[in-house]
Amino acid sequence: MTDPALLELRDVHVRFRGRRGAVAQAVDGVDLDVRAGEVLALVGESGCGKTTLARTILGLERPVEGEVRFDGSPLEYGNDWLRRYRRKVQMVFQDPTGALNPRQTIYESVAEGLRIQKVPGREEALVAEALSRSGLRPPERFFALFPYEVSGGQRQRVVIAGAMILEPELLVADEPVSSLDASVRGEILQLMLGLVRETGIAILVVTHDLGLAWNIADRVAVMYLGRIVEQGPTEQLLSAPHHPYTKALLSVVPEVERLEQQILEGETPDPTRIPSGCRFHPRCPLVQSGEAARLGIEERCRTEDPAELRSVPGTADGSGHVAACHAVG
């Protein structure tokens, strides 16, 4: 490992007990690092466990196995400890309207974190700086406004200001632009990228949108049914994906014309019933087309879980481009 990671997840498992006693393996053995100052995109479809993983990183879910480490120390789950932790790790949700208290002014919303964390200093100056840094200028104009008085894009800026005012080291953003208009989307992404450059914050952005990853992420991790199935530097991973799931995901993005569309059948299986062998095999184009049989791996695809992320061939060892597929390596 080159430099120590800011956030480390080691073999993290999170389970939920559903109705009728079924156990959902929402996160099923995830290893993931976020380095200081990087933007990592965690990509997957709904039900893949990406939001649960984000909540686990924030300490809102506690892994039943494995561990989350921040700055080298494992997360503790006492209230005081978590409060101090949230000074360093902040969250931005998908829907800014739901994230803001409709009866609080923008000033109150942004200052809330400072009060909870009892941060010393002139509150008003800090709020003004946070708003202004989030592109709400002049900040004083926004102090007395309520969330409904500003646009959706501005609301998301308020949420980001509220998170950034604590000068965290890591921002976890769950689909930060998917509820915003197309033209506003780019502005918010620019803001996030600017914050990384100016403050050196790391961002873990949880999204289904590969275009977003191309826009702002240094690295991408692709998640399927509770597991990271491929991970690597954005340019490598998106220009030469190795896992058949990543390939399929990329092929259905309308902005990628050169790829033949590979529309997977069905939907992501229920996490209470993870398929045997490789969890992707029932939908895998390699298995369905007979390619896996030709490669002599079909039996393994059906019975053996490719738990280990292996370096994809043709990449330098240190590049970190890895995939969990029997066809790789």
Partner: protein
């Protein structure tokens, strides 16, 4: 005209009654031939869903509507109620986003499709009705035996397919799809888009496809309209509109969805400053000028219209006037 137009919308205006009148659609005209696909792109508040509502005459009471919506030459806006009921579903049908809210949660999906059929055709024998429901479900890729399921027993993608089956129940000629894939996952989105493409081709359906996602439209539709603040600001063949936009707003929308692999978009998200305007307080002149990066002084006052901008293309931006040889 050799082939009669399926849909001819002429100078459509829609104003909502609230707060002294909100002009949501302000003079939209377009035409659609049989079997054609047309994409309508725009952001929230641009009037695209109001446009869909007006085509179906499904707007709240008190809404002011003027202009004409000619469906096979017949004006939907002035039709008698009974004629309108006959036309809905049999001539034109709609697929909205959010299938969970559109389907009745306490009725089996098969029953809901049967109801759509029997409302328009009486006296169909029970067995034939069952057969038609099963056939419709199979058409949209759902096994016929799922007819006995309630909506909550189906996945999001399957519910959206049921809505499409419902829309097809009375073999309409025109399908209006308002954000039909927005709430769906990317893979399911691709499945539903492919289904719509197949149906369009196999059944000769005309489709008006409404969404904020320009790249999806470019992939699915032959022709595109881009709306901003209640008006069409650009139209033309979709690959040209998406590939070489004439209106700066279209260019910004196209750039908002990056081309993966294209170095121009790498670590360079592209957006527009500001927000879509409030229809109650529209900017003067060209409504887009406050957000436009190439606005000229005249844009704040000069009225714009859809000027010709090349073969089969029009754009409402003074820039296109520079290109026209005089």
């Amino acid at each position: 005209m050799s082939t009669p137009l399926l849909l001819d919308v002429r100078d459509l205006h829609v104003t909502y009654p609230s707060g002294g009148g909100v002009p949501a659609v302000r003079g939209v005209s377009f035409q659609l031939e049989r079997g054609e696909t047309l994409g309508v792109a725009g952001e929230s508040g641009c009037g695209k869903s109001t446009l869909a509502g007006a085509l179906l005459r499904l707007l709240p009471p008190g809404t002011e509507v003027s202009g004409e919506v000619l469906l096979d030459g017949e004006n939907v806006l002035t039709m008698r109620e009974d004629r309108l009921r006959a036309v809905r579903w049999t001539e034109l049908a709609v697929v909205f986003q959010g299938a969970l809210h559109t389907l009745n949660p306490v009725k089996r999906v098969g029953w809901q499709i049967e109801e759509a059929i029997t409302t328009h055709e009486r006296g169909i024998p029970r067995s034939e009705l069952r057969g038609r429901v099963a056939e419709l479900l199979e058409t949209v890729g759902i096994p016929g035996r799922r007819a006995v399921d309630y909506p909550h027993q189906l996945s999001g993608g399957q519910r959206q397919r049921v809505l499409i089956a419902l829309a097809l129940a009375c073999s309409p000629h025109l399908l209006i799809a308002d954000e039909p894939t927005t709430a769906l996952d990317v893979m399911v989105q691709a499945q539903v888009l492919r289904l719509l493409e197949d149906l369009q081709r196999d059944l000769g359906l005309a489709v008006v496809f409404i969404t904020h996602d320009l790249s999806t439209l470019a992939a699915v539709c032959r022709r595109l309209l881009v709306m901003y603040a209640g008006r069409v600001v650009e139209d033309g063949p979709s690959d040209e509109v998406f590939g070489s936009p004439k209106h700066p707003y279209t260019a910004a929308l196209a750039a908002a969805f990056p081309i993966i692999g294209d170095a121009r978009f790498r670590m360079a998200p592209s957006g527009l400053p500001g927000d879509p305007p409030d229809p109650r307080h529209l900017p003067s002149g060209c409504t887009f000028h406050p957000r436009c990066s190439v606005a000229r002084p005249e844009c704040a006052s000069r009225a714009v219209e859809l000027w010709p901008a090349g073969e089969g293309r029009r754009a409402a931006c003074v820039q296109v006037l520079d290109e026209v040889p005089t």
